[in-house]
């Protein structure tokens, strides 16, 4: 994962964004990419989802049925890999896990990529999380919105480890977190921050070791930090 902040002359893709992913068919954008978007949404949400709503846009809305886009998204939410043949049984598995799912279609706006979905995850006692993501071809995905924040999170085959941080919009809000990362000998490659009112969301690309869950949770109790999610555990192939 990485925030795409590169110049247009920079190389954007790993060779394995082109070669692969290994996946169950039939469509890399409508099945494979959909599953990846589900995985990212799940990684961004704290806890086990109880209800998930998918709002399908564009080509996703018109042809999702035959491509099993709905099942692939749901499988991703349940952390199945794009290459898992159980993907086609996602509805049955979700029912067994008592995960409620709703599939809707809507126009999410003209500026969205034709293969776009809005995912809303809910759980009692937690604030819901929403994400808008697009499947941009060959199983590559891009997240364009998390909650109310516009972002540009490019789901290319792991170049950096990524933290997504919800925090206060104050200028120094991230300082304690940066200090903490330095303690873990993690080098920050770049930070992309979006502010809306008093709230902000930052996507931090990092080098170095992967943080453990305990270390991520420790970051959350820092002053000014609301939530921290680590995207280091996403599927690698």
């Amino acid at each position: 994962m990485q925030a795409s902040q590169q110049k247009p002359t920079d190389s954007r893709y790993s060779i394995f964004d082109i070669a692969g992913p290994i996946m169950v068919g039939p469509s890399s954008s409508h099945t494979g990419g959909a599953c990846k978007l589900g995985q990212i949404a799940r990684a961004l949400f704290h806890g086990t989802p109880e209800k998930v709503t998918f709002i399908l846009h564009g080509s996703f809305a018109t042809v999702y049925k035959g491509h099993a886009t709905d099942r692939a998204l749901l499988a991703g939410i349940m952390r199945y890999k794009t290459s898992d043949t159980k993907l086609k049984d996602a509805f049955e598995i979700a029912k067994k896990q008592k995960l409620e799912y709703i599939i809707k279609t809507a126009n999410l706006g003209r500026s969205q990529h034709p293969n776009t979905v809005k995912i809303i995850i809910e759980k009692k006692g937690r604030k819901p999380m929403s994400m808008i993501g697009s499947s941009i071809g060959g199983g590559m995905v891009q997240v364009v919105q998390i909650d109310q924040f516009d972002v540009s999170l490019h789901g290319v085959a792991g170049q950096y480890k990524t933290l997504v941080v919800w925090h206060d919009s104050g200028k120094t809000a991230l300082d304690p977190l940066k200090k903490e990362l330095r303690k873990h000998k993690i080098r920050i490659h770049d930070i992309q921050t979006t502010k809306v009112g008093h709230h902000a969301l930052s996507i931090i690309n990092m080098d170095g070791k992967a943080l453990t869950l305990k270390e991520v949770l420790a970051l959350e109790i820092l002053d000014g930090i609301e939530d921290v999610r680590s995207l280091t555990t996403l599927e690698k192939q």
């Binding site: 190389s11 494979g32 049925k65 990529h113 060959g138």
Partner: protein, 299 residues
């Protein structure tokens, strides 16, 4: 150091380091992902194994896809190998069979390697595994081919698109033909220039092809476009080795693809609202799937 966006960049790197496209591509990936060569090679090996499995599956266990639109064509092509007086050589027929097998495995929700996409996943493994097998080339040569084709795919992804929803079939099967043409040319010992020239010839012949699948499903015409795409890729490689030069360099062909994608109606970009999808046969499938009927003036 090994980063490339265009074919011109790539050729420069090949010249500077006096190696082929595959070597530059491997070094690029090592640099990009900061992984050892062994890791990069292991990952490609995994992909190669999935390719082989998908082909076997499609030939030995032919399964029907959703709504019975495809299945069982791959074994027919294998049988045709024994027939006399086929226009295509055994190599081309085998490549066509393997490409079809992959497409059929994909359509029936089997496991494949999207190379570069699932819709166009037949052409690259079909041609390269057939060439490796029938010409008894080493795994090393096959790896060369696969990395070369991935490099070509990357140039297309950087300069245009690999999504049929954005660019039509030219962006999926078309891209796969260019990739396979270059890959096969590398496997038979072609120079980097010959590889990219083969890619130009292959992609040019497929520019403008729209994505109009019946009911929006990756089955008809996708699978058979992979079948015939495999033949095109081999023809492009032959033409390049024969010395035919594309008047248009590869970067320009990619620009043309991007331009066509921009002009192409959304109805012809994976929405099942145009082309084959709205023929009487296409509309029948549409009804079967339960998609809303189209207005007469929209057809």
């Amino acid at each position: 150091m090994y980063s490339f966006i265009t074919a011109v960049d790539l050729l420069k790197l090949c010249k500077k380091h006096k190696v082929g496209i595959a070597d530059i591509t491997i070094r690029y990936e090592m640099e990009y992902s900061r992984r050892h060569r062994a890791k990069v090679m292991a990952r490609m090996r995994k992909i190669k194994n999935v390719m082989k499995e998908a082909i076997k599956e499609g030939i030995n266990n032919p399964r029907q896809s959703a709504f019975h639109m495809s299945g069982g064509s791959a074994p027919k092509l294998i049988k045709a190998l024994k027939k006399k007086k086929m226009a295509m050589s055994p190599l081309v027929l085998t490549a066509m069979a393997y490409a079809t097998a992959t497409g059929e495995t994909n359509a029936s929700m089997g496991r494949i390697a999207a190379f570069p996409t699932a819709g166009g996943s037949g052409v690259v493994p079909g041609t390269m595994l057939a060439v490796a097998e029938l010409w008894r080339l080493s795994e090393k040569k096959l790896n060369h081919g696969l990395f070369t084709s991935a490099a070509v795919g990357k140039i297309i992804a950087e300069g245009a698109t690999l999504s049929a929803a954005a660019g039509g079939c030219q962006a999926e099967v078309g891209a796969a033909i260019a990739m396979a043409a270059a890959g096969v040319t590398a496997m038979r010992g072609g120079t980097p220039e010959q590889c990219l020239n083969a890619a130009s010839l292959g992609l040019k012949s497929y520019l403008g092809v729209v994505c109009d699948p019946l009911g929006g499903l990756v089955a008809v015409p996708c699978i058979k476009r992979n079948t015939l795409g495999a033949a095109t890729a081999l023809a492009a490689s032959d033409a390049s080795i024969a010395g035919i030069e594309s008047f248009i360099p590869f970067d320009d062909v990619v620009l043309a693809m991007k331009n066509i994608a921009k002009i192409m109606s959304p109805k012809l970009r994976e929405t099942a609202l145009g082309g084959l999808a709205v023929t009487p046969t296409g509309l029948k499938i549409r009804k079967k799937i339960g998609l809303p009927p189209l207005k007469k003036e929209d057809i």
